[in-house]
């Protein structure tokens, strides 16, 4: 009997586990790189200054001008509308409905990748921000004054986004995978959830102000915005500019709960990678424990997966906090709270590397569906062909298994290097004495090696 179904409704093909020889190579390169990082380390912080400078005048202003913002906002609202309509009115087959692929693959996986490369591209397209800003403009036009907002409880910081991030993933891979059959999240449920989320987001924006909520509570803005800090394009004073890569990230984690956001990202990706491999037998025995006590099968599976996703969050937090606690033992260390906030941004490259390693192939394959039959036949009726691409499909030969392996291992190694770079740089801020700074970094090195090797391990465990 196979109790545990596939997690992803959309996946017709799963990646092969990374072979042992490549795992060994990957782990060795990580260690060599780490040694190298220690020996060539620089002595003055290099990334604390963002060094932003505007791009050529026309481009810098044109891309962020008011008409461009209105246009992008309209596109965002229109696409959300299409996804909601397709989800509510279209076919219940997850792989034939525009909604699921658009929300969970194109948006949820696409924006982290492109934000890291191009900057905060989600911000102009954010449909809730666009709606809320137009409502605000309408209010000003009628009432002749700015809408009043409640002060945001600053202690909450980004915690609402961290909780929301886990909820978004939970909906897809825990709630959705628990039907007892290999169906996964149905488009109707996804669209309903998106509607509920829209209502909640607009209400919060009205209460606390659009930009305040985008910066702290709006899951998608916070999550994609986090990855955009790595890239070299950013907007300042209404102008688009070029900045030192990675540098903006050093100022990202200042709000409370930021560490929880990046940890939630690593934890949910880990859970998804491990549930059919590394954690499979543990999940099965927990599931059986519930089932044996008379809990119905669907609830048992959802309970089990929920427990494991929370365990992943606890585990990743623990490793990070141990590293932080270790740094506290170095002479002249700042307070534990300062360290905990101060090194959170060093995990952003690791989170991105995990995403690339786990979802790169899914993204490449599923986007072929997005731009062929899902675009031309969004409801999956088999009668519509808007752009003449309804008969297209996914060519799984586009990527060989070997290519996927190299991208996966390469992503983890690069993420490791970037994480180490940011951590060393931050240590130089806290420990003016170069030797103390280096010694503090043995701890972060251990944290990074742990995450990277765990990532490699997840990839190498058979899904069977």
């Amino acid at each position: 009997m196979s109790f545990l179904p596939f997690a992803h409704a959309l996946v017709a093909r799963q990646d092969l586990p990374v072979p042992a020889w490549l795992f060994a190579w990957g782990a060795s390169i990580v260690l060599i790189v780490s040694f190298f990082a220690l020996s060539v380390a620089w002595r003055k912080p290099r990334f604390e200054e963002v060094r932003w400078r505007p791009l050529g005048a026309g481009l810098a202003r044109g891309l962020v001008s008011a008409p461009a913002q209105v246009l992008c906002g309209l596109i965002g609202v229109f696409l959300l509308g299409v996804a909601l309509y397709a989800g509510l009115r279209g076919t219940e087959a997850p792989d034939r409905n525009f909604a699921l692929t658009f929300l969970y693959v194109t948006t949820w996986l696409g924006f982290p990748f492109f934000s890291a490369l191009l900057g905060d591209v989600f911000r102009p397209f954010n449909p809730w921000r666009a709606l809320s800003r137009s409502a605000g403009a309408g209010f000003r036009a009628i009432a002749g004054q700015r809408p009043a907002h409640l002060p945001y409880p600053e202690k909450l910081g980004r915690w609402p986004a961290a909780v929301g991030l886990i909820a978004v993933v939970w909906l897809e891979i825990v709630y959705g995978s628990s039907g007892g059959v290999a169906v996964g999240l149905d488009p109707h449920a996804a669209a309903t959830a998106a509607l509920v989320y829209s209502g909640y987001t607009l209400a919060m924006m009205a209460l606390f102000g659009t930009e305040v909520w985008c910066e702290r509570g709006e899951v998608f803005s916070v999550y994609f915005g986090m990855f955009s800090q790595l890239g070299c394009f950013g907007v300042e004073d209404g102008r688009l500019g070029y900045r030192r890569p990675l540098a903006a990230a050093t100022h990202w984690a200042t709000l409370p709960g930021s560490a929880a956001v990046v940890i939630a990202s690593i934890a949910t990706t880990s859970f998804d990678g491990a549930q059919e491999g590394a954690f499979k037998s543990a999940i099965e025995s927990t599931f059986n424990w519930f089932a044996d006590r008379g809990v119905d099968l669907t609830t048992s599976l959802r309970l089990t997966d929920t427990i494991f996703i929370l365990l992943c969050f606890a585990g990743v937090s623990l490793v990070y906090l141990l590293g932080v606690r270790g740094m506290r033992t170095i002479r002249g260390a700042p307070s534990l709270a300062t360290l905990r906030i101060g090194f959170a941004h060093t995990l952003i490259p690791i989170a991105l590397a995990y995403l690339v390693a786990h979802y790169f192939s899914l993204f490449v394959f599923q986007e072929q569906a997005q731009f062929t039959y899902l675009l031309s036949d969004p409801l999956g009726t088999a009668h519509t062909d808007l752009f003449g691409t309804a008969s297209g499909g996914i060519d799984f030969r586009l990527l060989s298994a070997t290519t996927i392996w190299y991208v996966q291992v390469g992503a983890l190694v690069v993420g490791h290097v970037l994480g180490l770079t940011l951590a060393h740089d931050r240590a130089l801020v806290y420990w003016p004495n170069y030797r103390d700074a280096s010694r503090s970094q043995y701890w972060m090195l251990a944290v990074m090696v742990a995450f990277t090797c765990f990532g490699l391990y997840l990839l190498s465990v058979s899904n069977g």
Binding site: M1, S2, P5, F6, A12, R13, Q14, D15, L16, P17, A20, F23, A24, A27, L31, F35, L38, V181, A182, V183, G393, F396, R397, S400, A401, T402, R435, R439, Y442, L445, A446, V449, C453, Y457, S460, V461, S462, N463, G464
Partner: protein, 138 residues
């Protein structure tokens, strides 16, 4: 400084040990997978012409007898298997997107080249019941 170097050396040793252990265990698993219940036809095109035994997935009460059948091939092999079912349904091989109707009490056979690498599910489409997992190695 000496002290911290020693700490670091210990740390590296630990990481290497963990790495090797993980390597060891993952290669163990691979061995287990190839020995335990996996049908693995001989490599090369000649295996098809030699008429080696074609694996059969028996469906009883809409479920595969003995659990989900594990089939493993190398890219370029000929994937051949039969499905013998006591219920009428459609057999769907995902990824390759091949479908065949099987009548109650009937048998259908699949024969196609392993040209897409990865892990694929074969299921009874109507019942959403997975019956085989097909692995194609590079």
């Amino acid at each position: 400084m000496k002290n911290s170097k020693a700490v670091f050396a210990c740390l590296v040793a630990l990481v290497i040990a963990v790495g090797l252990a993980a390597c060891g265990s993952s290669s163990d698993e691979t061995n287990e997978a190839t020995n335990g219940g996996v049908t693995r036809p001989a490599n090369g095109p000649e295996s098809a012409s030699m008429g080696g035994k074609v694996p059969t997935i028996v469906i009883r009460n809409g479920e595969p007898v003995g659990g989900v059948k594990q089939l493993e091939y190398d890219a370029g092999d000929e994937i051949r298997f039969e499905v013998k079912s006591d219920v009428a349904d459609e057999v769907h091989v995902h990824g390759y997107d091949l479908m065949q109707d099987v009548p109650a009490g009937g048998t259908v056979s699949f024969d196609f080249p392993a040209e897409i690498e990865g892990i694929f599910e074969a299921e009874l489409e109507g019942r959403k019941e997975q019956i085989a997992e097909i692995t194609v190695n590079p």
